[in-house]
């Protein structure tokens, strides 16, 4: 980074809100980058991103159609990670499967988190019957195990990636609503919210501008920690045939397809399983790193 940028970012007298915000983000980045495990998580995430973006360049062979003459070949030679029962290159399928994984993770994060924060923050701030209705609804969703509920939704909606995303998002928001409500209750009685009321701020302005920013750090941390779970649920739906329609590559369904040969041709389900494991681990490490930066209350050793 050029020294002049650094000086601009670390200035003790920022001259615009943009600079103040950038400086805050930069200090957060410095703290995050000091954590080697969090950086490892970031590297894994960036690798996932790169493989999704550049899949055609990284995958040597067609992920969808295979050569039946070359079915169930062991790793090595032209097929780095071997081939599956339809003669498709597993490495290429894993690379293309990262697109599915990333899409699911991204869509779930951008749908479930906003739903959760809006429901939780409104319930916590408004109180009364609004809170009762919203939080009992949340409890009703929380009462079912996530995977079972997602299965029920996916089964009702039919298979397909859009429905899998919808099913996962519908089961992922309740914990976010609870976190947002808990943070809101802590913030609602503070003097700075009282000061905003005194200034004549509307309820909408207070919730959006004063309360939600205080809920965001713990929510971001929770979402990134949950991403591993989302990937596993998506893989589980794929495994049960409720996720992505074949022959599109998806890690969960790849594991599922290989289970009949798990002892003789172990590579068919092992390598997609390793991919699932690595990406889940990466999101967990990022989540831990973010927690130390954004939410220092929980402590470094926590």
């Amino acid at each position: 980074m050029p020294p002049s940028w650094r000086r601009w970012l670390l200035s003790d007298a920022p001259t615009s809100r943009r600079q103040a915000r950038a400086a805050r983000a930069y200090l957060g980045w410095i703290a995050f980058s000091r954590n080697p495990l969090a950086m490892l998580g970031l590297v894994i995430f960036l690798a996932l991103l790169a493989s999704a973006l550049f899949a055609p360049a990284l995958a040597p062979l067609d992920p969808v159609s295979g050569d039946l003459a070359n079915r169930l070949l062991a790793p090595g030679g032209e097929y780095w990670l071997g081939t599956d029962q339809q003669g498709r290159d597993i490495w290429s399928r894993i690379i293309y499967g990262s697109r599915t994984t990333l899409l699911i993770v991204f869509m779930v994060a951008v749908t479930a988190a906003p739903i959760g924060i809006v429901i939780g923050a409104s319930a916590g701030y408004l109180g009364g019957w609004v809170e009762t209705v919203l939080m009992r609804l949340t409890d009703a969703f929380l009462a079912f195990p996530k995977l079972v509920l997602a299965l029920a939704f996916a089964a009702a909606l039919g298979s397909g990636i859009e429905n899998a995303i919808l099913a996962i998002a519908l089961t992922a928001w309740p914990p976010y609503a609870r976190i947002a409500r808990a943070e809101t209750l802590a913030v609602r009685g503070t003097d700075y919210v009282a000061a905003a009321k005194l200034n004549g701020a509307s309820d909408l302005r207070i919730v959006l501008g004063h309360i939600m920013p205080m809920c965001l750090p713990s929510l971001i941390v929770r979402v990134s920690l949950d991403m591993a779970g989302v990937i596993l649920i998506a893989a589980g739906l794929g495994f049960l045939g409720l996720g992505v329609a074949p022959p599109q590559p998806e890690w969960g369904s790849m594991v599922s397809e290989g289970r009949s040969q798990i002892l003789e041709q172990w590579w068919v389900c092992t390598y997609p399983g390793v991919a699932i494991f690595l990406v889940s681990l990466g999101f967990n490490l990022i989540g831990d790193g973010l927690r130390d930066v954004l939410d220092p209350r929980e402590g470094r050793d926590g």
């Binding site: 805050r24 003097d191 701020a201 302005r205």
Partner: protein
């Protein structure tokens, strides 16, 4: 006699519902005239801050009558009337939003009320409270307690209110900063023709800032006195005298002579 700017009649404020309801303030009356700084003094829990929050419109669970600038206040206060009275809170660490810059803290009230020349007003407000332009884009955690309290004062002034409600504005500050902030408040009050209502348990601060004060105990005003009477020790009610003795520091004989009311 100048006009009454705050008139409070038979103000009763309670917390809780039904059987558990506790009256924190019991039928209090007082009047503050324009430009006269008024102090509310008493021990913790006597209801002085509760009165202040009701005056500010933060507590909506009261009965009786509150008039500000000759206008009756409803329990739900409309946006335009909020401008009449602003408040400075006790804790400068808790009264500024930790994720908002000073600039945002000061310009948001102006945006809410649709006031023009936001840029100029923010600069003026910073100047009035003797903060430098370099502080404008800082976050609260990048400033000292005294600087934060100045920001809180600037926020209270920026809507050009008639009345400023001060809730122990210096008790969370270092002793060396306390005098600075009090002098600043006094100067601003004179320049801008403000009326202060100051809540404090520190008789010295009240005597310094106010012309008149009310001494409260258990939700009632036991005595209203002029500041000179306080300084000359001419308080009438036994509780007020006790408070005065207590404020002069610890004295074994004086404490032994105290009555438990």
């Amino acid at each position: 006699m100048s006009d009454a700017i705050i008139e409070v009649e038979n103000l009763t404020i309670g917390f809780g519902e039904g059987k558990n309801r506790i009256a924190a303030v019991k039928g209090v009356d007082f009047t503050v005239t324009e430009g006269e700084n008024f102090g509310l003094v008493g021990e913790s829990g006597c209801g002085k801050s509760t009165i202040l929050r009701a005056l500010a419109g933060l507590n909506e669970d009261w009965s009786g009558r509150i008039r500000l600038c000759g206008r009756d206040m409803d329990k739900k206060r409309p946006r335009a009337l909020r401008r009449l009275a602003q408040m400075v809170f006790q804790d400068p660490f808790g009264s500024l939003h930790p994720k908002h810059t000073v600039d945002r803290i000061l310009s948001e009230p102006l945006e809410i009320h649709g006031m023009d020349d936001v840029e100029g007003r923010v600069r003026l407000a910073l100047d009035q409270v003797q903060l430098e332009p370099v502080h404008r884009f800082r976050y609260p955690h990048q400033m000292s307690g005294g600087q934060r309290q100045r920001v809180a004062i600037a926020r209270a002034l920026i809507l050009q209110p008639k009345v400023i409600l001060l809730d122990e504005p210096t008790s969370a500050l270092d002793v060396s900063i306390q005098a600075e902030v009090l002098n600043l408040l006094q100067d601003l009050g004179q320049q801008m023709g403000l009326t202060y209502v100051l809540v404090s348990h520190d008789l010295g601060v009240v005597a310094h800032m106010c012309r008149r004060l009310a001494i409260m105990r258990q939700g009632e005003i036991v005595e209203t006195a002029m500041a000179e009477e306080l300084e000359r020790g001419k308080l009438v009610h036994p509780y007020s005298r006790q408070l005065l003795v207590a404020s002069r520091g610890y004295d074994r004989n004086a404490i032994d002579a105290f009555l438990d009311h």
